[in-house]
Amino acid sequence: MTATSGSELAALSARQAGARIAAREVSSRELTEAALGRIARLDGRLGAFLAVTADRALAAAREADARAARGGRLSELDGVPLAVKDLFLTRGVPTTAGSRILEGWLPPCDATAVERLEAAGAVLLGKLNLDEFAMGSSTENSAYKPCRNPWDLTRTPGGSSGGSAAAVAARLAHGALGTDTGGSIREPAAFCGVVGVKPTYGRVSRFGVVAFASSLDQVGPLARTVEDAALLLGAVAGHDPRDMTSSARPVGDYLAGLEDGARGLRIGVPREWLGDGLEPGTLAAVRAALEAYQRLGATLVEVSLPHSRYGIAAYYIIAPAEASSNLARYDGVRFGLRAGAGGGLREMYAETRQEGFGPEVKRRIMLGTYALSSGYYDAYYLRAQKVRTLVRRDLDQAFERCDLVAGPVAPGVAFRLGERVEDPLRMYLADVFTITANLAALPALSVPCGRDAATGLPVGLQLVGRPFDEATLLRAARALEREVGTFPAPEVA
């Protein structure tokens, strides 16, 4: 084995790492130790990990190396160290959902996505930090600790999959899984300069993923390169009989056709998305990316998404409503925190939930309960579900004239920690670009497209595609990545 330094090892993409293991140039153990070393050195500052499962990881690495020795490779990810958002159930490993109400909870089973990664031979390093119950855009709502942006430790990495994005950007893991309900993969990916994919609703099983909003949640990869994202997506996608909302459509090979380039693609640019409200640096970077696509032979088509401006209102009724119901199970009876000792049943419920839930979670439960309550259902929940249909229709119509839609991920770059916690509405309004794809149940991704001139912070370009057409999105993202170069990794200060 060549003596590659720890940071060189950590810098490998997931695919490169897997290939080196297969070629026996590097061992899974070395990669795993390198990752664990970086975590030990840097994560104190970053706060990306809530749990590091070093022993398990090293044991898995040993097995991967044994397989590599006898030529029994499970997949391209065999032996590659990855990590997952702490929303994924991992058997026997604490799963907190970033909440005190699940502190110390050990699930009796794995999430399907975790099972599939492990079946592919991946090494799991640990569980990644997140906004509590995936509710938030900055990871500041984590009940345990904030996560910091590796590009600037005074700023958020985004959320709710902030730990996933930070870990990948800071090379603490070669890839990660996150979840995206209103932008929670794409926005942190954009803030941290990594690739993040939210697949079509139903593409990846939600079994074993702590539910936030059932009709919006999706599992997806965060990775350093588009190729890695394609690889990770392929490893977890596909029908799961344990999830009746998972699609039976066959999964294609996301790596095939990845290099086909952008020539001939019709890229829709929604006029509503490039108006006011964008920070100049973000607007400039997005514009530059669109121009790059033109140079690569794609055509830009102006489209309109007239119901875009109603998206936040619809999302912030539907998601909290479903969440208020999904979070009713946290009652202190069967698992997790129990408070209110000495009191009766009602005290137990109320104290448990008061102590266990943070303010953002409580806020959304309140909002959701209100929207579903007697007398308000029609005006709020039902109406929001109808507007959802309109948002989807806008995109269906746009796709008659283009193959994918492009625009910003967020109005600006990563904001400072503490800047928005007191202003929930402002925090919500920043989701305006990402929630479209969640409401429409369509695939979308964020690919780094440049840097903000003022701060040097990463800017992400969002691509939204037709149902189950992740392949076109990945191909287009790869084309841009080839053109602008793989986004650099930050030096963690």
Partner: protein
């Protein structure tokens, strides 16, 4: 039920646990009992990240019931969440059906006081059962939660408020139960709770146009309690209205010990269930092909069977009705008839035994036909012995009872207990002569008109024969010997 100028109005909500092997949304066993929480998994425990997966058989059973009761089966129905907090409800919501249930309309025919009636159904829908709260699991009076039952499939069958007396309600539930059992979707066990009935009861003045405020009565786990509860509640409500008061809409529990209903939750706010369509489950699709396949597979239903018993076998409506109330009993009857013989006389005899002695023994033992040691063939054997004169009426009863208890062969029981009837004319005649000789005074009195002394002679003869004299033979010989009269 006299209510002095008032009419009681009743609608029933029946919850039937379906006889599937696994729960509605997961593969856990539906078997009754078992160590607390031994039949559970992440789904029915409501653990984070769990998702429901619908059991195909539940849909098939729901459609089958709907077809049998003449409902409109929706091609597309939707599950919904009913949200409330209770320890036996692990997710904090029950997955049920709300706006778009799988069946609508339909009706249940039943008979009360010999009159044929029909109660219309509002709807039938699928839902999951909750777990069980158990009291006093520890010294400090705490309660325990057992989720074995959580997720067992239920069919909720809601009737229109078409019932007008407690008796009607009872007969309605009886008839519905018979249908569910005939279809093999429920075991109809009210005591164990696999068939539950809630009644919505209100009263209105005779001739009034609007229904009164109704109360929901729960916890009536037998027909007797159902009747008592409704009668009590009707009287209670009439008293309130007559006294100038207003009936409060509430849920009340029947207390079988006191024969009263009492309010269930004090000052509890009316539940706001915040129903919304279940996002984790796609709409339930019942294509026409499936519907027709299930329709073609419908077995003979109780009312049709009862009609057949009346028409082809000449049974009375009453006898037929009793037989079909439990489809397993009716099936047992059919086999007994097959083993014994055809014809209306045979049917009448077998029906009398099944509805009489056998029913009594079964009721005492608390067992259904599947558990009876008295097989149809054995009953047939006993009946043939009676026909041949080998057994008398009382003897037959004894044999049937013992066979029911022990499963012994009838012939063996007759042998062992020496129950063989004495039918031989010669033997009986000898005893008759003996008795008449020994009672000259009574013979003289009989001859001079005291005909009711015949019983005295029969008694003496039977005593000599240890009760095993064939009554027909004894009577015939006495008549011959005593001459004339009776």
């Amino acid at each position: 039920m006299a209510l002095s100028g008032f009419q009681v109005v009743i609608g029933c909500e029946v919850h039937a646990q379906l006889l599937t092997r696994s729960k509605i949304f997961c593969g856990c066993s539906t078997a009754f009992g078992g160590e607390p929480n031994a039949h559970t998994c992440p789904v029915c425990l409501g653990l984070p990240g769990s998702l429901p997966v619908l059991n195909q058989r539940v849909v098939e059973m729901a459609v089958t019931v709907g077809l049998a009761l003449g409902c409109a089966v929706r091609e597309r129905s939707v599950f919904a969440r009913k949200n409330y907090f209770y320890p036996d409800l692990p997710k904090g919501y029950q997955i049920s059906q709300y706006e778009l249930p799988i069946c609508e309309g339909g009706s249940v025919p039943f008979a009360v006081d010999g009159q044929e009636r029909v109660a219309r159904l509002t709807r039938i829908h699928m839902e999951e059962d909750a777990g069980k709260n158990v009291h006093g699991v520890s010294a400090d009076g705490a309660s325990g939660v057992d989720l074995n039952r959580a997720g067992v499939p239920l069919l909720e069958i809601v009737s229109e408020p078409d019932l007008r007396s407690a008796d009607e309600a009872v007969e309605y539930v009886r008839a519905l139960r018979a249908v569910l059992m005939a279809l093999g979707v429920s075991d109809g066990n009210m005591q164990e709770g696999s068939l539950r009935c809630d009644a919505n009861v209100s009263v209105m003045r005779q001739g009034a146009e609007r229904y009164g405020t109704r109360c929901e009565i729960k916890n009536m786990n037998s027909f007797r309690f159902l009747k008592a509860a409704i009668e009590y509640e009707a009287r209670r409500q009439v008293e309130i209205v007559e006294g100038g008061g207003k009936v409060e809409q509430e849920t009340r529990l029947f207390d079988p010990d006191r024969g009263e209903t009492r309010s269930m939750r004090s000052k509890e706010e009316a539940h706001d269930y915040r129903y919304f369509p279940e996002p984790d489950l796609p709409p339930v699709v019942v294509p026409a092909a499936l519907r027709e396949r299930l329709r073609a597979a419908l077995p003979e239903l109780p009312r049709a069977r009862a009609r057949r018993y009346q028409d082809a076998l000449g049974l009375s409506a009453y006898d037929a009705g009793v037989l079909v109330a439990d489809p397993q009993v009716a099936a047992w009857f059919d086999r007994a008839l097959e083993a014994y013989g055809a014809g209306r006389e045979a049917a009448k005899k077998v029906a009398n035994w099944v509805n009489g002695e056998v029913a009594r023994l079964a009721h005492e033992a608390g067992a259904g036909p599947a558990a009876w040691k008295l097989t149809p063939e054995r009953l047939a054997a006993v009946l043939r012995m009676v026909d041949r004169g080998t057994l008398g009426g009382p003897g037959a009863k004894q044999v049937v009872e013992e066979v029911f208890r022990t499963g012994a062969e009838p012939a063996a029981v007759v042998e062992a207990r020496g129950l063989t009837q004495v039918s031989d004319e010669g033997a009986v005649e000898a005893v008759v002569d003996q008795v008449l000789l020994a009672s000259p005074v009574e013979v003289e009195r009989h001859r001079s008109g005291k005909k009711d002394l015949t019983g005295f002679f029969v008694g003496r003869v039977m005593r000599e024969l240890r009760g095993k004299g064939n009554p027909a033979v004894v009577n015939a010989l006495l008549k011959k010997k005593l001459g004339g009269g009776s």
